[in-house]
Point group: C2
């Protein structure tokens, strides 16, 4: 009796049900694979695509450089496609001569925009015409605060979209659990890759998560946390308006961080270093996404997953004085 590389049955069944109900994913358990997180899932799919003859993959510009590296290690040539305020540019994608594309439609990583319905339709048309595959990282879909999140792209074209989700942001990064919903044509090939990568994901947490899902606890957890995180986000946005009126919050009300754009005259790295000295840690657009965001304004990515509201107000105040210090060329 060999271990199923796709993961344990109860979790695959629970995920198929949950993703169908909450994200509009067309999922049947046979097409669900449990992974050790999004990075692994992306690597498995890229290897399987490469083995099936794919040679070029498009990624969003800007996007996480680690994911580019993962695709490139799988033998794929990585092509950058610009993201504007409506999401990835489909006209550029059409000209890119690629076999696949990796996208973050629910909340673009890192710009925070949403792929518009027109672009989603155009992307699906392109997938069909080109017979290409999209890898949909359903990033931050569970944490949309101003309205219900748009459904998954996968629901529009399940035979050409790999859906990818993860427990890292909705439950705990320490779990290292992610999941893929695969087009039927890719199931066997991705299973082969999973066997070579690590045979199968550890099963104890899989059973625990299956139980959590089927008892409705994940829904309850997300309802609770949306209220908590939304209040934190509102607190940051409010504190920024007061302390740093020249800063501009970019992207929709979603996720676990806000992108804060500063005037071009600010020095992103100096601000990060000065803030770090004062005990405030955050990522920055150039720091994390270089060299794929050279033309971006200085942008701070302020996370609030572990910040209670009072700490947020104090933190933004301290951040503002750190920024002032860099502008005055002094450090405290």
């Amino acid at each position: 009796v060999l271990t199923d590389p796709r993961g344990v049955d109860p979790l695959r069944a629970g995920l198929a049900d949950y993703l169908g109900r909450v994200r509009g994913v067309v999922a049947d358990p046979a097409r669900v694979m449990v992974t050790c997180g999004y990075s692994q899932g992306l690597g498995l799919v890229c290897h399987a695509l490469h083995a099936a003859g794919a040679r070029r993959i498009a990624v969003e510009h800007p996007s996480n450089p680690e994911y580019r590296e993962i695709a490139s290690r799988a033998g794929l040539e990585v092509v950058s496609i610009a993201v504007d305020e409506c999401g990835i540019r489909i006209d550029e994608l059409e000209r890119a001569d690629v076999d696949a594309v990796a996208v973050t439609p629910a909340h673009q990583d890192p710009t925070g925009v949403v792929l518009t319905s027109e672009r989603r339709a155009a992307l699906v048309s392109w997938l069909r015409a080109r017979k290409a595959i999209a890898i949909e990282d359903d990033y931050d879909a569970e944490y949309r605060y101003d309205r219900a999140a748009v459904g998954a792209l996968q629901g529009l074209e399940p035979d050409r979209v790999v859906y990818a989700g993860s427990a890292s942001k909705i439950l705990a990064p320490a779990l290292r659990l992610g999941w893929l919903v695969l087009p039927p044509s890719l199931v066997d090939a991705v299973c082969d890759e999973k066997v070579l990568a690590d045979r199968a994901t550890a099963s104890i947490e899989q059973h625990a998560l299956a139980d959590f899902l089927t008892r409705g606890e994940l829904d309850r957890h997300l309802r609770r946390m949306r209220i908590v995180y939304r209040a934190r986000r509102d607190a940051i946005v409010e504190a920024l308006a007061k302390e740093l009126p020249e800063a501009r919050v970019r992207g929709i009300a979603a996720g676990l961080h806000v992108n804060v754009e500063l005037p071009a005259s600010d020095d992103e790295r100096a601000i990060r270093d000065e803030s770090y000295r004062r005990g405030i840690q955050f990522s920055t657009a150039l720091g994390e996404y270089a060299p794929y965001a050279d033309d971006a304004l200085p942008t701070l990515m302020l996370g609030y997953a572990r910040m209670p509201e009072p700490a947020i107000r104090i933190g933004v105040h301290e951040l503002a004085s750190a920024i002032l210090a860099t502008r005055e060329g002094v450090s405290r």
Copy 2:
């Protein structure tokens, strides 16, 4: 605060202590990496070696074809080196023009021989002269029944041997926990590969295993299980002598399966199929290791990890009649 790709501190400390004490491994926690099992660890090391300029890796012949595939996916050319009754042939290795070698010194997989002390010394000399790296899969070292297992090769040359162990056979395959002890020169490169593979191994079981190790429970578990498994192995060997006197048990008294060699006139595949129809499942040398064991006699690999002794006697009796049926060309 980023997750350490090497794993959680208490487990790395616990493993360094345990492996030093029980296997003679030269380990300090900074060089220990927790993985999702041996397959993943092998892949990470092969990728890191390839990134550092390695081009060819030697593997034992026969050896697990999946491991060859993993090395090959990492870009390494795989070269077969014969195994005889003393282990891998170092004279062949010296002529092979390779940068690395993967070995199973404690209990060769699948032949069951042990690397002799002369061969171990010759392997270490070759590693130094060639400035090569060995990957030591410390397969079955914890389950040696006739005497204390020979110490790890890594203890002889810690700067040129990657030690690899796993919880799959000593505790539970469902855990998906393995570990590497790396030469200092490879730590950073293997960390980079781990980040790209899955960032880090899930941490909850790591803390559980650390607790199990530091309380001495693993030592107690292994002492108990060695007695149980040894009795099962003795029961199989005894039943085979009675039921199938023409069969020959190969390899040392170790591990969780016995290799049973049959006369050349027997049909390995037919025996496997007929046994399967009777509810007896096992791997076979040609079935699992083809095409790297074409010259081997028909060999059944009878596992007893989940077989209580009474079931073993009944199973061997049924196996013997399945073999008789294939010889007579009838199936029951």
